[in-house]
Symmetry: C2
Subunit: 442 residues, 2 copies
């Protein structure tokens, strides 16, 4: 039939048993990561605006808003959790396309699984396939689509929740084809809104749009059979060029989900290799007070994008390689706490920021950096990072993912609440259903 | 600031008193027309699929689904009424752009007005401005946008409900700018889904998307200030070319709402001038049984698009100029009843269909036609239509709009229910609120 049918066929004919164990584990890591981000942002005042709309709308309390005691309708949970998942831009990144697949996919899958009493393993299965296939769809239109001004998380992101929710609702192949049609035609989101609440809204809207596509398709709603490849389909209309063969290339053998990297640091990726290097130097015992001078050899995008010398507030700190070097050497971390206003204003960072000299290296990859220290006693130390943590070549491992989750969840849930939730999430594949995961208002 | 601010400023600074009486009357005609379509389609089995999703979601019963006894949340009412409004493709058409502005705009405005207890006059005011401005936005990207494969009712259609709902929610200028940003980035819908339920879903989705934009903006949600004119905004990303000056050209002096035509016949517009001519011949006393031969001189698109000679089912009848000539001459009408399966199969239509000869005229406008009859007694009769009924040059007047409404609403509400509803709708500008309009399950 065509590529749309190929996608639907792969999705509905792949069983849990067909998925390699490491793929299911990777899906679990994606779930933990995005829930950590969402729980952290559940305290953000902007969520209240969305919750007020929900309160006026009403709805059956069938699905959790992560990190709150609110239970809302499935559509509402998908929208809210997709929003908070992406709000801090700290979720994940499919490196080949800059799609953030988990914030749209996981909230839709989670809401359906929670409502229907499905197992944690089924949630991971649907998440794995939703992320896998939405990343592949994104590949087919990248880079043209993004370069034209589309926010790919809002557009191609819709296929992840459509597929994941569709699988959990038990769609057969023709209904999955319709689900892709209903979802694909809702692809939306332009980059003009970046820097406002409407950017993370794209992820929440994609989650809800994908979910309703599956809900409608389950009831027999009709759509096109060629949403991707059709003459007026998504590839033709939303991208100057496309290569649909990338969707199915090695499908089932090579898993694109491993190219989805979990962000270790709460700032733009250009700073990541430098923070890695500073963290490593600190781990080698370097005392920040003993540093005489710092040379950072970096990709040319670094001075272009993150060159604020003396950030005054936390948000500016994210756009300051100097601040990132200081917190990396002083704290060995770059969580949201290290980008607080208090940390940005801490005078202890100033001498370190001022000791830095940037050296551009045109031959570097974007995730490559070298940091060279000269200590006051004359000692010279060097740390070279070839691939930043979180890149496909150097994935964030389970230990720092645990650390990241606890750092994010603790301010919202308290230390014991965060630890208990994380424990339940790591054991998701054993959970007969999701009813206890967010128990007790967590 | 820019065109987005210009639009918001015009919307929020135009009061009810600023609107000419004929503009408010035109808005009322648009409301009556789209409600008639929605009430007719409220019996369509596909609406049940949507209602089942709503039932699972739940919601406060604060707004009516027209033509049913269901009350649902505002978002749900906007989605359902937008869907049924456009389902038969019998609503309205902004002739310069093929935007169908009422199906997205009126459901959102109606839901807010109904919920807040606002007057009928306020509904008409918000509707007038929503339609006016969404038609103007559509003008700015037409024809490029549609030619690229976008369904303009799903995309630019979102601005009508955003503006109308935003006005009724009392947004100030900065919030209306944000509302346009949240709405505009949700513009979606490709033509690949035409011929399926997903096409009218575009209108419902646009209604709900516009509505939530206004709801979020009212709560302080932030967005871009340049959703149209920005480098990554709607005009640049969703259209190869654009002319933003068309949005504000003559704004407040020349009213684009008058270029929105109400469809007199339940089929594609290419058949409309021919039906007009046949209806006129019938009114002159022609007996269908007395006809020997028929020559129809038509635009070249007619043989290309509507050339089914012997339609067997009602849907085929819509794509048969031969059937349209037969029902025009026999019934003087082209309501849904004349496109029923029974009518398509009625043998009384066969001799008329077979008596027709088509003559293409390359110089004709699309809404132009001549029909020449030769009767069995040798009499020759001719009827020339320069602009089909429903075109801006020949608007559907209030009397045939009344007839259309009753034809559409009667099967759902019964004769007295339909008449009573129509009476209340014609007196909308006197209604202190909308609570009685759809009373008693109507």
């Amino acid at each position: 039939m065509g590529i749309t049918t190929d996608i639907a066929k792969f999705a509905v004919s792949t069983s849990i048993e067909d998925l390699p164990a490491n793929v299911l584990h990777e899906a679990k890591r994606d779930v933990i990561n995005v829930i950590g981000c969402a729980v952290y942002s559940a305290r953000d005042p902007s969520l209240r605006i969305i919750l007020d709309v929900f309160a006026a709308e009403g709805g059956k309390p069938r699905a959790s808003i992560w990190g709150t005691d609110r239970r809302v309708s499935l559509q509402q949970a998908a929208l809210a959790n997709g929003y908070t998942g992406h709000l801090e831009d700290y979720d994940d990144t499919h490196f080949p396309t800059v799609l953030h697949p988990s914030s749209p996919t996981v909230p839709a899958a989670y809401a359906v699984a929670e409502d229907l009493g499905l197992s944690g393993r089924q949630l991971l299965y649907a998440t794995a396939l939703g992320i896998e296939l939405s990343c592949r769809v994104a590949l087919a239109v990248h880079p043209w689509h993004y370069d034209e001004g589309w926010h790919i998380t809002g557009t191609m992101g819709v296929f992840g929740p459509a597929i994941a929710a569709g699988l959990l609702l038990g769609l057969d192949q023709p209904k999955m084809v319709a689900c892709l049609g209903i979802g694909g035609t809702q692809a939306a989101g332009v980059r003009e809104v970046f820097g406002s609440m409407t950017k993370p809204f794209h992820a929440g809207r994609a989650a809800a749009a994908g979910l309703i596509s599956a809900q409608l398709a389950a009831g027999g709603f009709t759509s096109t059979e060629q949403i991707f490849e059709g003459r007026r389909g998504v590839a033709a209309v939303l991208s100057a060029e496309s290569d649909l063969s990338r969707i199915t290339e090695g499908l089932g053998d090579r898993w694109e989900i491993f190219n989805n990297g979990l962000k270790p640091y709460a700032c733009g990726v250009v700073n990541h290799p430098i923070i890695d290097a500073c963290k490593a130097l600190r781990a080698r015992g370097v005392d920040a007070g003993a540093i005489e001078s710092i040379e950072a050899e970096v990709h040319p995008l670094v001075p272009e994008l993150v060159s604020i010398k003396d950030p005054k507030i936390g948000l500016e700190g994210k756009f300051s390689v100097y601040h990132c070097i200081a917190i990396g050497l002083r704290h060995g971390a770059a969580f949201p706490a290290q980008f607080s206003d208090a940390e940005a204003a801490d005078p202890a960072n100033t001498p370190i920021r001022h000791a830095v000299t940037l050296v551009k290296n045109e031959s570097f990859e974007e995730d490559e950096a070298v940091v060279r220290l000269t200590l006051k006693d004359g000692t010279k130390l060097e740390e070279r990072v070839e691939h930043a943590t979180g890149a496909p070549q150097n994935p964030l491992t389970d230990a720092p993912l645990t650390e990241k989750f606890l750092e994010l969840a603790t301010p919202t849930l308290g230390e014991s609440g965060a630890k208990a939730l994380l424990d339940r999430l790591w054991r998701l594949d054993e959970a007969p259903n999701l009813s206890g995961v967010f128990a007790n208002g967590a």
